[in-house]
């Protein structure tokens, strides 16, 4: 960064009056597309927002995750991640050539690699730099760092493929100093995790100004606003990007990108009725619900240029609904990158104001992508970009919250979407008339594949398996959040989510902070809920265990009353019963037993429907193993249902939630007919061999 720019950045920090730590970066970097390297000079001004004198600094050097097979990342991933595979011999790494205090001591020789998570001495993804004198409370330090980054072939999110480059996690990035009491920190210290297979972000907010020099034929996109592009006269062009209030910076370059831009026009995209509805739902004035315009930039592969409209619509839908629910998107731009064929490892990623999506050459009309991936990655602008939870330690707080929010946008904007099924590149979902899906059903279905693999709350690298990480970071928290919404009600949930988002924008919450926000917003103590469904692997399963319905018979025996003693014989009783039967006055006793088959406890409603159309509803705290209910009515019971509205999305078995007096084989017949048809087709095809 030029010195004057650095000064302006610092001034803006001081004027903002924040005492939060800030990491302001000025980087000038030059891409060598032949060697697949970036040579950079970084000026970092870091402000100590704590009351602690800070004796050392810690940095992420994430590109070293790809340096050799001994890195923690490679050991954990086995060279395979997110459906992609590491390409042999295309190692990636970052070398710090010089690290010095601006105008002061050269600290290059003092740097040491540390492995705070697993003690892996071979891991090179975190360094510690002891300082000659500590950074005083409220003080700041400016460092000058020269580095060279060697890109790997695109594998885990970052790297090159042909002449496509995605620069993610590409520069030395300072960790987060957590003062005592912040998040889970008992004592003050650096929170600077190694790079793991399943975790990405935790960093301080700050302002970035990056000058990126590339050969002039390259089309470039990056975090923030492009301020200028200067031709250098040597066949290269330097692009300058600036962005404040972000915690990372990523960029991409490829000569053949097709670039499209369009403005998200808030006035046009949000109708007056939608604005009124949302202000009413959240109890906020119109002005507060209003959104701002955003410049949408698409960088698409030439063969996907025909899908620009779909990308624009998805981005606009995401800007609109995330903005209406949680607060307007505060940045001026959002850049959506479409990686090329063979560079899929870079797809589906989120960086501040810069996301990567992914689509196919032919995409079915109702296929859930690219819309799903665009909305999801945009969603991370909120859950990760703006609310900076710690993805290493609480991945579900961005992936899970985002799965929940993404689902709400997709189900609203794209009802009837289907899974993209394709054969030889041909989309088949429409041809096969696959049933439309909802995000809720997919979250729940995925959760049911391993409902008790782990507690939901674990550190990202401490789940039993990679698939358990995925399940517990995405779909299960998605289903958990839906259950929370069903428990609180739509309005209460919307208010709580907005309150949480607003409170923690540009800050670092932990899950207890979310619980506190929910409790405060709703005025309820919801700890019981999170104890069950976040801090345990207990499964919920409520069931109708048994229902009986018997005619009530006249009581027999000797009865003392005001009119003296009366004896009812069996014959008399039978006669009375027959008389009642004839006059349709017979009473029926319905008994139902509801059981808690799972370990998790959740209060449930139970609905009883009777043949004459009457319904009865009872509430049960769901605590003890079972509860019994009895009704005496002049009608027989038709059905019993526990949790009839399926509020408890996490219930592992909805089929046993209800009982009906009359068997129905319609659905079984319908499904059997379909399966039979397909089996016949397979056998008839097989018969061609005979």
């Amino acid at each position: 960064m030029h010195r004057w720019a650095s000064a302006i950045l610092l001034l803006s920090v001081c004027l903002s009056g924040q005492n939060k730590p800030q990491a302001n970066y000025s980087i000038s970097a030059r891409l060598n597309p032949t060697a697949k390297t970036v040579t950079g000079r970084e000026t970092l001004t870091w402000i100590n927002g704590s009351q602690d004198p800070i004796p050392d600094l810690q940095f992420h050097l994430y590109m070293n995750a790809f340096k050799n097979t001994k890195s923690t990342f490679m050991r954990e991933s086995g060279g395979q991640l997110r459906g992609d595979r590491f390409q042999k011999d295309s190692w990636g790494y970052i070398d710090i050539k010089k690290l010095a205090v601006a105008g002061g001591a050269d600290l290059t020789r003092a740097m040491e690699f540390i492995a705070p998570d697993d003690g892996n001495a071979e891991d090179r993804t975190v360094i510690r730099v002891p300082l000659e004198k500590p950074v005083p409370p409220g003080g700041q330090i400016t460092l000058e760092i020269d580095f060279v980054t060697q890109f790997p072939h695109v594998f885990a999110r970052t790297g090159y493929h042909g002449n496509f480059f995605l620069g993610g996690q590409w520069f030395p990035k300072i960790g987060v100093w957590e003062k005592a009491g912040m998040r889970f920190a008992k004592t003050a210290g650096w929170n600077c995790h190694q790079f793991h297979a399943n975790s990405e972000f935790y960093a301080d907010y700050g302002a970035y100004a990056v000058d990126l020099t590339v050969p002039s034929e390259y089309v470039v996109g990056a975090t923030g606003i492009q301020k200028n592009a200067v031709k250098n006269g040597d066949g290269t062009t330097t692009y300058r990007f600036e962005q404040a209030n972000v915690h990372d910076f990523a960029w991409t370059a490829q000569p053949t990108y097709r670039r499209f831009t369009r403005t998200f026009d808030a006035e046009r995209e949000v109708t007056a009725k939608e604005l009124t509805d949302i202000s009413r739902l959240l109890g906020i004035p119109h002005a507060e619900a209003r959104l701002s315009n955003v410049e949408m930039i698409l960088l698409l592969q030439p063969e996907h240029a025909g899908q620009a409209e779909r990308h624009f619509r998805a981005t606009a839908n995401a800007i609109k609904w995330f903005g209406l629910w949680y607060g307007a998107y505060p940045h001026a731009t959002i850049t959506v990158v479409d990686p090329p064929n063979g560079g899929g490892g870079a797809g589906g990623m989120e960086y501040p104001t810069f996301i990567t999506a992914g689509t196919s050459w032919l995409q079915g009309r109702n296929d859930g992508d690219p819309e799903g991936v665009v909305v999801h990655e945009f969603g991370h602008q909120y859950w990760q970009g703006l609310v900076g939870s710690n993805e290493f330690e609480e991945a579900w707080m961005d992936e899970g919250f985002n799965t929940y929010s993404t689902g709400k946008v997709i189900d609203r904007a794209y009802p009837g979407w289907t899974l993209p099924v394709r054969l030889a590149g041909i989309p088949l979902s429409n041809l096969m008339r696959l049933p439309g899906l909802t995000w809720e059903s997919v979250d729940r279905a995925a959760y049911l594949s391993a409902p008790k693999a782990d507690d939901l709350a674990r550190r990202a690298w401490e789940y039993q398996t990679g698939s358990s990480y995925s399940l517990n970071s995405y779909m299960r928290p998605g289903a958990m959040m839906l259950t929370l919404e069903n428990t609180l009600g739509e309005a209460e949930m919307a208010k709580a989510m907005r309150a949480y988002h607003q409170r923690w924008r540009y800050d670092h919450p932990a899950f207890p902070d979310f619980i506190a926000a929910v409790n405060e917003s709703t005025g309820k103590d919801m700890n019981w809920f999170f104890d069950q469904f976040v801090y345990s692997s207990n499964v919920a399963d409520y069931a109708v265990a048994g229902v009986s319905c018997e005619p009530v018979s006249e009581d027999l025996g000797v009865f003392d009353g005001n009119g003296g003693r009366r004896t009812v014989t069996a014959a008399e009783a039978r006669k009375i019963d027959e008389e009642r039967e004839k006059n349709h006055k017979r009473q029926w006793l319905t008994k139902a037993t509801i059981r808690r088959e799972g370990e998790a406890v959740y209060p449930v409603d139970i609905e009883f429907r009777f043949e004459n159309g009457e319904t009865e509803r009872r509430q049960w705290d769901g605590k003890y193993r079972w509860a019994k209910f009895e009704f005496t009515k002049a009608t027989k019971v038709a059905s019993v249902a526990v949790d009839p509205e399926h509020k408890l999305v996490l219930d592992a078995n909805w089929t046993n939630n209800s009982w009906r007096a009359e068997s129905s084989y319609a659905t079984a017949g319908k499904l059997t007919s379909t399966v039979l048809f397909w089996v016949e087709q397979v056998l008839a095809t097989l018969a061609l061999l005979a």
């Binding site: 059903s441 279905a445 046993n656 659905t667 017949g669 007919s673």
Partner: protein, 311 residues
């Protein structure tokens, strides 16, 4: 007899002998039912007394599928997979058995179906095994081509050209598999007419026949194939309207689908009948007449494939 005449004669004959189609269809249905029955019982047991059945009737829920399979995971799922494979193999064997009767009747309508089936089964079974080598060859060719395309596309920045190339490869593989299938149809006919009894010899003779009359044989086979595809397209077009909101409509769709399966099976038999007509109209000259086959030989002596051992 040209291809169209063979197809027309085959069409008439296969309709005249529609009971053969019915038999193949019934067998296919029965085999499918064996696989589907335990599934149907399990689904009915799972849903019939639950209100979920009403919800799922109108809106299929993938969550229910997971619930259902979670309950039947492990041993039950393995048993079901074994059952499916066994029934699939049985179906293949039964189809081979019935093929002998069908082709014999197409050749000589007064033949007795089941005794012809029994008579030709051992030869046709050996022939089916020989055919696997050729199908395997086509599959291997496809696998190699597919892998080469996959490798090349990995380093490319575009997917489109490679997908189109893959379509080309699939086209070639389907054509080759069709040629193998057709050649072995004629090999079956050769075996049934008794011009050769060994599977290999019959294959060679069928290949020679196909090679000497490529236009006619390919036309007969691929016109039938195209008709089957047309039938599929018609089914697909009509199934747009085959919604199943009521139980009556579920039954109607069931009938509609079964009609499609029936006609699909018929298309295969029409192919055979047309091929019999095409073959009989211009058979290859019999190079070395083979000695008559004692009726017991096929069933008891595997060596019967070699005519030398018979004399």
């Amino acid at each position: 007899m040209n291809a169209l005449a063979a197809l027309s004669a085959g069409g008439r004959q296969s309709m005249r002998l529609f009971k053969i189609t019915a038999l193949f269809y019934a067998m296919n249905l029965a085999m499918a039912a064996v696989i589907v029955a335990p599934l149907a019982v399990a689904v009915a047991g799972n849903l019939s007394r639950s209100l979920e059945s009403a919800r799922l009737f109108s809106n299929f829920d993938v969550g229910w599928l997971m619930e259902f399979s979670y309950q039947y995971r492990g041993g039950t799922a393995v048993q079901f997979a074994v059952l499916t494979v066994v029934v699939g193999l049985c179906s293949l064997v039964l189809n081979t058995f019935l093929a002998g009767g069908a082709i014999a009747l197409f050749e000589r309508e007064d033949d007795a179906f089941f005794s012809a089936s029994a008579r030709y089964f051992p030869r046709l079974a050996r022939l089916a095994l020989v055919s696997l080598v050729f199908y395997g060859f086509v599959a291997a060719l496809f696998g190699v081509g597919s892998r080469l395309i996959g490798k090349a596309s990995e380093s490319s920045m575009e997917a489109g050209p490679w997908i189109m190339l893959r379509w080309g490869l699939i086209g070639v593989a389907v054509f080759l598999a069709g040629v193998v299938n057709m050649t072995f149809d004629y090999a079956k006919i050769v075996l049934v007419t008794g011009e050769a009894r060994g599977a290999v010899r019959a294959t060679m003779r069928a290949a020679a026949f196909v090679a000497s009359r490529p236009a006619r044989t390919l036309a007969v086979y691929w016109i039938c194939g195209a008709a089957a595809l047309g039938l599929l397209a018609a089914y697909h077009g009509l199934s747009e309207f085959a919604t199943q909101e009521t139980m009556t409509r579920v039954l109607l769709v069931l009938v509609f689908r079964q009609a499609y399966v029936l006609f699909r099976v018929w298309a295969r038999l029409w192919t055979w009948s047309s091929e019999v007509h095409a073959y009989e109209a211009a058979p290859l000259p019999v190079a070395e007449p083979e000695p008559p086959i004692p009726s017991y030989v096929d069933v008891t002596q595997g060596a019967a494939a070699d005519p030398e051992t018979l004399s």
